[in-house]
Amino acid sequence: MSDPTIQSGTSTILAEREQSPAVPATSPAVVTVGHAATATATAERHAGAIVYFSSASENTARFVANCRLDELGIASYRIPLRPGDEPLAVREPYVLIVPTYGGGVVSKAVPPQVKRFLNDPDNRAWIRGVIASGNTNFGEAYAAAGRIVSAKCKVPLLFTFELMGTPGDVRKTRDGLARFFADNRQADDR
């Protein structure tokens, strides 16, 4: 197992994960001593967690609310909107839900607030997957934020949806996340 604070992204790790998609590269059991107490405690308390960003349009916030993840024991953390806000720190395995920005310009697709969150290596160590929203009107840039985060953090792009998501998207995400975290926990317990 690799150190959870380093997402090395070497080809070996990539190959291992491709063979067993549900197994995260790092597990809460092997965190460094300083983080062990908090991380293990939160991992026991939650079935899983999601971290999301939503701008003033509230599209992603509505999608997350519609998923009713608290009923599944999945915690939700929101990345703050304003630069002056207290930065979010997450120390348990999570799936990132990110809207695509930039109006079709791929280089601007990941919201700056999300970049800031992921630039903290301690936050980045716990990402296990990404879900991205977008609009097919933006052509190749559709849900580009998801592909960028997936490539940069070496985690799977689990799902994409448009705007605030349809009831079908909500159902798939809710069921999918429950399965995804259950599989991850089983893998951690082994």
Binding site: L14, R17, E18, P21, S55, A56, S57, E58, N59, R62, N66, G102, G103, G104, V105, V106, S107, A109, V110, P112, K115, L118, N119, P121, R124, G129, A132, N135, T136, N137, F138, G139, Y142, A143, A144, G146, R147, I148, V149, S150, A151, K154, V155, P156, L157, L158, F159, T160, L163, M164, T166, P167, G168, K172, T173, D175, G176, L177, R179, F180
Partner: protein
Amino acid sequence: MAPISIPRKPLKLIDRVSAINWNKLEDDKDLEVWDRLTGNFWLPEKVPVSNDIPSWQAMSEEEHTLTMRVFTGLTLLDTIQGTVGAVSLIPDALTPHEEAVYTNIAFMESVHAKSYSSIFSTLCSSEQIDAAFAWSEENEYLQKKAQIVLDYYEGDSPLKRKVASTLLESFLFYSGFYLPMYFSSHAKLTNTADVIRLIIRDEAVHGYYIGYKYQKGLELVGGEKREELREYTYDLLNELYDNEVEYTESLYDGVGLTEDVEKFLRYNGNKALMNLGYPALFPAEICDVNPAIIASLSPNADENHDFFSGSGSSYVMGKAEETDDEDWDF
């Protein structure tokens, strides 16, 4: 019948003007959207539509007529949005920057309207062009949709105006947008499709922004009014949808594509509602748009990114994408 693309009542102007200060924003969305819109600026002359001449010449007369009617219908909507719709939103704006964004939207709609003329002049004879414009004046469903929307633009409810405008931007165009996406998926008129994709990208930002401003406006009214507007939105969508179905039949029955277009209408109707902050209306089973159309619209919107449905047995790793922020290289 008199041309409908002329407002029957004068639109009101804003009551008071102060010098706009872009260094003092009341709503960050205004600058964000202004930057997106100006960053996306384009002109039809930049797209080599003339490369479509061989493709056009190989198409049937029926396909020619259909294409020209569809594009004339889109021209009418863009004209309405450019000269009436976006302009009518200016007096309702909550911030001076919002007013400025509407002037950009109005101008781009005029660019869109002109781009159809640019396509026509490249591909068609003046007799064909005249016939298509004459058809647009006579098609009752096209006239009706223009009427419905214009009535709200001239009405006295700022929020209803935004609903009508968002439904135009995010729903009413799509019976027309379908055709170039369909042709492009059959390797026909691919450069023309590139022009339409640029329009489609702009309309997404317009619908998003006007829908967002609608939601900001909703925050300022009471619960009862909010409920009335919610009902009004669904009623108007249903009214426009019924008319769109008739319009679609009048265009596409001859080529057997009506059913396929209707799925695309419902899919976009849902997106229009979402832009206004409302849940989707049409269930997924009747919004299963032809995958070739979705792929023509967005090459990345495929099933590979639905890990949850089990269609991908391994991780779908993203391709390396270009980003520009230096702080993003971890």
